[in-house]
Amino acid sequence: MFYLALKAAHVVSVIVFVGGLIAQSLAVANLWMGTGHLHLAVERWDRRVTTPAMLATWLFGMLLAMQGAFFSSGWLVAKLMIVVALSGLHGIQAGLLRRSLIEPPAATGYLQTLAPKVVTGGVILIVTLVVIKPF
C-alpha cells in the first residue's frame, strides 16, 4: 500500500510539473517572440498538441480498460466521471480561447479563475484511483 501511495504521489508530481513546465515555456517563448499575446500561443498549442493528446488519452484509455476488463470496476467508473468533467472543461476553455481571438473576453467569472486548481485536484484524484484502485 505504501509503495502504491508513493507511486501515485510520483505520477501526480510528474504530471503537475510537466503541465506547469509547458505553460511556463509557452509564456517565456511568447516573451522572447515579443507578440504580447500569450493567449494566441496557448490557443495554437491547444489546437496542435493538447486536443490530439486528449483524444489519444481517450483512445488508449479505452483500449487499456478493455484489455484489462476494468469496465465493471468502481474505481474506473469514478475516474471516468472526473475525466469527462476535465474533457468538458477543456472544451469550454478551448471555445473561450477561440472566442477571445475575435472579440474581447467578457468579464471573467470567479469559476474560471478556479480552473487550474480544479484541474490539479482532478489529476490527483485520477492518479490515486488508477494506481491504488481502492474499490
Binding site: 486528449m54 479505452m62 483500449l63 472544451g91 478551448a94 475575435i102 472579440e103
Partner: protein
C-alpha cells in the same frame, strides 16, 4: 482569421464530427450488435465500440467548444446533443449545420 471565417471553421469541424459520430453509431447498432447476437461474432462490437466511443467523445468535445465559443444558442446545443444519441439523427443535424455554415459564409445569420 476573421470572426466569420472562424465561426464557419468551427461549424465545419462540428459537422464532420457529427457525420463521423452518426456513421459509427449506425454501424455499431445495425451491423456490429446484430453480428454479435445473431451470428455470434463479438469481435465486431469489440472493435466498433471503442471506435464509436472515440467518435462520440470527439463530437461532444467539438459541440462543447462550439457552444462555449459563442457560435450556438442553447436550444441548438440541446438539439445537437440529442442528435448524437439517436441513430440517423446526426445526419439531419449534419445537413442543418451545412445550411447554417453556408448562411454564415454568405454573410447571413451570424
Amino acid at each position: 482569421m476573421d470572426g466569420r471565417s472562424q465561426r464557419v471553421s468551427v461549424l465545419r469541424r462540428l459537422r464532420t464530427m457529427a457525420l463521423l459520430e452518426g456513421t459509427t453509431l449506425v454501424c455499431l447498432v445495425f451491423v456490429a450488435v446484430p453480428m454479435k447476437h445473431l451470428l455470434g461474432l463479438p469481435i465486431a462490437v469489440r472493435i466498433g465500440g471503442p471506435v464509436h466511443g472515440l467518435a462520440f467523445v470527439a463530437y461532444a468535445w467539438s459541440l462543447t467548444t462550439a457552444a462555449s465559443g459563442g457560435g450556438l444558442a442553447s436550444r441548438e446545443v440541446v438539439r445537437l446533443a440529442i442528435g448524437a444519441l439517436v441513430p440517423f439523427a446526426s445526419f439531419f443535424n449534419e445537413r442543418w449545420l451545412k445550411a447554417r455554415e453556408a448562411d454564415i459564409a454568405s454573410g447571413g445569420a451570424d
